[in-house]
């Protein structure tokens, strides 16, 4: 068992983390920054001022603060642990609570009761080499990502099956403190996936991080899972990819794929295979990339703040003179779509690849 007190007491309080925080930049008060949240996590552990620790939910878990930490603290993990303590004490945000109830009751955070409708051939296979786990957001909110992925798999003749059950990986629960009692479900999900196939592909960085890292660290569950951008980068080598019209785009690193899982180059390498696509970099790219504002339950509970953060990222994207922003995360795509009046077309990497396969 990790003793979070031993971790928190190591904090140098140097404030390096604050210099990176997009939330602090928007709000200004110290309780909205990582240093404040480490201090507040200490209070949560001690059960002090719990009712006033709401600002612990003001974190997109983007982890931009972690690389600069002088001590090497896993700041996001500390904040997520403190959120678990708050949830245990009944201090929650209503949208998070609703989301958690939906996951436990309906298997997805959106409370969708019906399964997605797909060609039965894609879902009824007993088993295949690959299992495609689209992720709830790619299924129900940005389903062009799921459909593009399926399109690509079909075009390359992949032996795969789509996991279409309403079964959330639990990522929103881990990020917002509600993961208590999820262990059994996680175990069951891994069992179900392994029954269908040995290798899992997901289109969602949140699912990827959760099923790869959280499951193994917290539940000792191992799963052979890849993010689709990594999988396609390997698989599409040598295949002719070309867009009909020229496009200049900038690639946005999703926090949970980049800083959390260290996947920076594969999506870029994949996109560079596409003819007629020119990639330009934003000033803050790779490990320095700015968050889109969606993560950590911030969009659900503080939508205005999330949009402000998203707009800043789009402003940076516009400075590159790109006409489009490409991400590899349903949450980022959803945010950029919502803010499309800012003048940039938003795509997921799967959409661009599907379009370029003719």
């Amino acid at each position: 068992m990790i003793d979070y007190r031993d971790r928190i007491i190591k904090c140098a309080l140097c404030g390096e983390c604050n210099t990176q925080c997009i939330v602090l930049r928007e709000i200004g008060w110290l309780s909205s920054g990582p240093k404040g949240k480490i201090l507040m996590s200490g209070l949560a552990l001690e059960g002090k001022l719990e009712k006033d620790l709401d600002n612990l939910y003001l974190c997109t878990t983007c982890a931009k603060c972690e690389p600069v930490c002088n001590v090497g603290l896993e700041i996001v993990d500390i904040i997520e642990h403190a959120r678990r303590k708050l949830v245990e004490a009944g201090i929650t945000k209503l949208p998070h609570e609703k989301m958690a109830n939906n996951i436990f009751n309906y298997g997805n955070p959106y409370g969708e009761k019906e399964k997605i409708r797909l060609d039965s051939k894609l879902v009824e296979k007993e088993s295949a080499e690959y299992v495609f786990f689209p992720g709830c957001t790619a299924k129900y909110r940005v389903n062009e990502i799921m459909l593009s992925s399926i399109d690509i798999f079909n075009k390359i003749g992949l032996d795969y099956v789509v996991f279409d059950e309403n079964y959330c990986c639990g990522s929103p629960l881990f990020r917002t403190g509600f993961a208590g009692g999820f262990e059994e479900r996680a175990g069951l999900l891994v069992e179900k996936l392994n029954k269908k196939g040995d290798k899992v592909i997901t289109a969602c960085p949140g699912c990827y991080r959760t099923m790869k890292n959280d499951y193994s660290k917290k539940y000792d569950l191992e799963l052979d899972i890849q993010h689709i951008s990594v999988f396609l980068n390997e698989k599409l080598d040598g295949i002719d990819l070309s867009l009909e019209k020229n496009m200049t785009a900038t690639y946005h690193d999703p926090c949970h794929l980049g800083r959390h899982m260290n996947v920076y180059e594969e999506p870029r390498s994949l996109l560079k295979k596409v003819k007629n696509l020119e990639l330009v970099e934003m000033t803050n790219n790779r490990e320095n990339a700015l968050c889109c504002g969606s993560g950590g339950g911030v969009r659900a509970a503080f939508d205005e703040l999330a949009y402000q953060i998203g707009k800043k990222r789009l402003e940076e994207a516009k400075e590159t003179n790109a006409e489009s922003i490409i991400s590899s995360c349903p949450f980022c795509k959803l945010m950029f779509d919502t803010l499309k009046e800012n003048g940039l077309n938003a795509y997921d990497v799967t959409e661009v690849i599907a379009k370029s396969m003719r």
Binding site: A12, G15, S31, E46, L49, L53
Partner: protein, 479 residues
Amino acid sequence: MEKELVERAYEEIKKVLGDKKVRKDPVELYCYSFDASIYKGNPDIVVRTSSAYEVSEVVKIANKYKIPVVPRGAGTGLTGGACALYGGIVLDLMAMNRIKEINIDNQYVVVEPGIIYDDLNLELASYGFFFPPAPGSGSACSVGGMVANNASGMRAVKYGTTRNYVLKLEVVMPDGNIITTGSLSSKSSAGYSLKDLFVGSEGTLGVITEITLRIKPLPKHSSALIVSFNNVREAGKAASEILKTGIVPAGMEILSEVCIEAVKRVKKIEFPEGKAILFIETDGDDVCVKNDTEKIIKVCKENNALFIQHSEDKAEIKRMMAGRKALSPSLFNYDPRLNPVFLAEDIGVPISSIPDAIEEIEKIASEEGLVIAVFGHIGDGNLHPRMLIDVRDEETWKRADRAAREIYKIAKKYGGTIAGEHGVGITRAQFLKLEHGESLEIMRKIKRALDPNNIMNPGLLFDYKETQLDHLRYRETVL
């Protein structure tokens, strides 16, 4: 602090600044009760101001009710200078972070106090200029905090401290009046240098709201050397001999054995074999850098250097300096039970006394059974003995307290200072008389004359009646 007065002040501040700039909810106050030191002080109100006018209005209200005002930048100070020891108002100045003017022809920049040091230098770099003092916390600290503490860092040996760059200040005085002091002229003999009084005053005389700084062209070339020695004595001798040649390195750092061991073990960075290491940097035009480097290598060899690494390549210099940069993180992870604490961590002595001082500090560490990692800016005699202790153990704090007292005596013995670049704050307030003797009374008189109600950061410098172990944050919370 009397609740009723605080409440009245709170309401009045809200009236002037609006609801959004004032807070007094317990969690926000808690977050503002720490800086990067070992101390905690609980404010009653926090205000985020965005102009000198707003600062002035807040200070006037505070003065009316005789409520303390504690100006705060990024809160990276190591001495407790931004902790509201006796409650009152913490003034968060970080929203005042504009660069108001960059004047390359006359080589100065005008900034607000909340600008981050590295952010300022990033902007200046696009003009080929920089503001040189380079504190270790440069990526996070505010320029206002640097002025208030007369901060400096690794480059002080060549480029001096913040004080050397302050041309002009705008200050909100304790009665709320806004004054400016200093000029754009690079020299002045017109009366008392009041701007110098505010530099290093740690918020005890007023609130700095605008700073005009001298800036310098960025050097075109640089070189770095890592030189190892058998012991700190030989390293110290070599450093002294280098300076005697007339060369002024851009930085000259010493790491003692505990530091070397910590970086090697925690960060897996290899150093040349030896029990003391010098990091030496030079900068300037290419010929000058080459000549200086050659001379430095020669002096090091004559002074029993064991190994010498040298480079003028930017990427390689960065790689070499990573070992020095890794020191602070390494000390935090040296031992899971031990934390670095900031007691007597910033003494200054004449350069030739450095080897003796380091050996004496190491003797104190051994007598008290403490780990003390000694490193510092040997080029200007500034040593940072960093004690590593179990902060949850009262008995260890007592030993650390005794060790700190002895370390200050070493500074005194060699005619040095108790605070080289981190300021006095809470941690050194009780020792200030050791350095200043009777002249401390002059400072006290100045403080009384300018701040008769003693509202500006009270307790710091003069009237602190407690000890370096009072107000420790670890006693109250997990942190």
